[in-house]
């Protein structure tokens, strides 16, 4: 009951924040990696500008090596940009993960020495959340991710998809207002990916959080997002941002619609040249 009241409260927050509208604002971002072996510096990103609206589902697609994950690490405050500024709720992100930001990585980040339940409780305990409230929030996260039956299991006893669910639950339980997903389903099979996609949509609707999803799967981006940002080959920047126009209660069944097909085709026509260029880049590197 209390957990429900809390989601209502965080929804209220969202409504208040809606007036600000821009949840995340990146301006003039570039990222240059200096080579440690004395080779030429690599321009990974930018110059790049991006605004995420509060509560939207934004996906980033782009050829491999275009700096998608770097972009996510910048927004998460895990790396600093070489130039430019990142604002979250109007506050500059610098040298640390801002409050209210949750990240789910591509790699399995569950703690193998803790049970599912303790994994989920980990962040709450660190933050000193009142135990009764913490329990309720963890219960709700278990329920939302369908992990109730596995609460006392260790991650090694779970499949890859289940482990990724543990990571999602551990992120959700902190009630983030901005959820960053770095190809979280990259290692999963196609059916599991579709199901996880639906679940992420459900979670997005239930929490009202802003979501930024990094993915290499065009169909995933086309199906899940309000807007899809298409990135260029290195140094990555947005060459187009596509509005999908889906209703908020969409699910994976839209994949059979005509519009989904034309959307995916459009994404690919934009990406094709960039991908060819990216492939050449990686071949010259070798």
């Amino acid at each position: 009951m209390i957990a429900q009241r809390q989601t209502q409260k965080s929804r209220l927050d969202v409504i208040v924040n809606d007036r600000v509208d821009a949840h995340v604002k990146l301006s003039g971002i570039t990222q240059v990696f200096r080579s440690q072996t004395g080779g030429p510096a690599i321009e990974a990103l930018g110059p790049l500008d991006l605004t995420l609206k509060t509560g939207e589902f934004f996906s980033v697609v782009g050829p491999s090596g275009c700096g998608k994950s770097t972009l996510l690490e910048l927004v998460a405050g895990l790396t600093r940009p070489t130039t430019g500024e990142i604002l979250i709720d109007g506050k500059v992100v610098q040298g640390g993960v801002p409050d209210g930001v949750g990240v789910v990585f591509q790699e399995d980040a569950s703690f193998p020495w803790l049970t599912v339940w303790k994994n989920i409780m980990f962040g709450l305990k660190r933050r000193g959340v009142d135990p009764t409230i913490a329990n309720e929030r963890a219960e709700r996260a278990l329920e939302l991710t369908g992990l109730q039956a596995f609460r006392d299991a260790y991650p090694s006893q779970l499949s890859g998809g289940m482990r990724q669910r543990v990571c999602i639950a551990r992120t959700l339980v902190m009630e983030p207002r901005l959820i960053l997903l770095d190809e979280p389903f990259g290692a999963l099979d196609q059916q599991t990916r579709l199901i996880m996609g639906d679940e992420v949509l459900n979670l997005w609707r239930a929490t009202g959080a802003t979501v930024m999803l990094i993915t290499h799967a065009l169909d995933e981006a086309a199906m899940l997002s309000d807007r899809v940002g298409i990135m260029s080959a290195r140094p990555g920047h947005f060459i187009e941002i596509v509005e999908t126009g889906w209703s908020k209660d969409r699910d994976s069944r839209i994949a059979s619609s005509e519009k989904f097909g034309s959307l995916t085709a459009h994404l690919w026509s934009k990406l094709r040249d960039e991908s060819i260029q990216a492939t050449r880049q990686s071949e010259t590197k070798k």
Binding site: A76, L78, G96, V97, V101, G102, V103, F105, E107, D108, A109, F111, P112, W113, F122, G123, R126, R127, Y154, P155, S156, Q157, T171, M174
Partner: protein
């Protein structure tokens, strides 16, 4: 698995029977070896009379202090080295070649420095144990997935909290392996030091009995030492298996 265990037990039992037979029939002279059953009797007699209690305590305590110091120092040094790659690169050759140095040549120096008491043998035990502890912990720290450290940052853990709550648990199996090796090295160090020059301990008693031609006592203590080491090892292996099983690694 059960069949394997039975086969192993059978091999040990066969060796014991052959030894017993060889000793009893005089094939092996009692000046070089006493029958295994005799060793057991001698050991039990010594344990009953309490003449060894002080010596056992002395040796076990010296090993314990060596290991405890080696584990604490080893983990701390490894964490520092891991966070300073330059320093680590500079020190790496020392770590790699360390065990080619016969540490025992410094033993006389330690006696001069610390006096003829329990300190030199603890120092020797520590010196033999600490580097394997450093190397094992470093190995474990290298294997901590980057994504786990990132997760720590996302969850707003401080540097100390990250080490305590994420890095060390993640490296636990390697650290544990280091502890196992450290115990083995510390036993060797302490016992050998007792052999060479000391005032007490099980190693000293073995050497004393040897010079005294007291084979019953010598073999009795040797058997006791083997049992102590076997028990410690069995305990550690059981614990390790428990940790591994929980993580699905067994």
């Amino acid at each position: 698995m059960n069949r394997l265990m039975r086969a192993r037990l059978l091999v040990v039992a066969a060796i014991l029977v052959v030894l017993e037979f060889a000793c009893r029939t005089g094939l092996i002279s009692s000046y070089s070896l006493i029958p295994p059953s005799e060793m057991v009797v001698a050991m039990i007699e010594m344990l009953r009379s309490g003449e060894l209690t002080a010596e056992i305590l002395q040796t076990v305590l010296a090993v314990f202090i060596s290991v405890a110091a080696a584990v604490v120092v080893g983990i701390l040094v490894a964490i520092v080295l891991h966070s300073m790659p330059r320093l680590r690169q500079a020190i790496e050759p020392v770590l790699v070649t360390y065990y080619s140095i016969p540490i025992f040549v410094f033993y006389p120096l330690f006696i001069v420095l610390f006096g003829l008491n329990d300190v030199p043998k603890v120092v020797i035990g520590f010196m033999l144990a600490v580097v394997t502890m450093i190397a094992s912990t470093l190995n474990g720290l290298d294997r901590v997935p980057r994504v786990l450290r990132k997760t720590g940052r996302v969850l707003h853990l401080s540097r100390m909290e990250t080490i305590r709550e994420v890095v060390l648990p993640s490296a636990a199996l390697s650290v544990f392996n280091g502890v196992k090796l450290a115990i083995a090295h510390a036993f060797v160090g302490v016992l050998a030091a007792e052999f060479i020059l000391s005032t007490g301990g099980l190693g000293y008693q073995i050497a004393y009995a040897f010079h005294d031609f007291d084979n019953r006592k010598m073999y009795g203590i040797m058997l006791l030492l083997l049992i102590i080491v076997a028990v410690v090892n069995a305990f550690l292996m059981g614990w390790e298996r428990y940790i591994r099983q929980r993580r699905g690694l067994s």
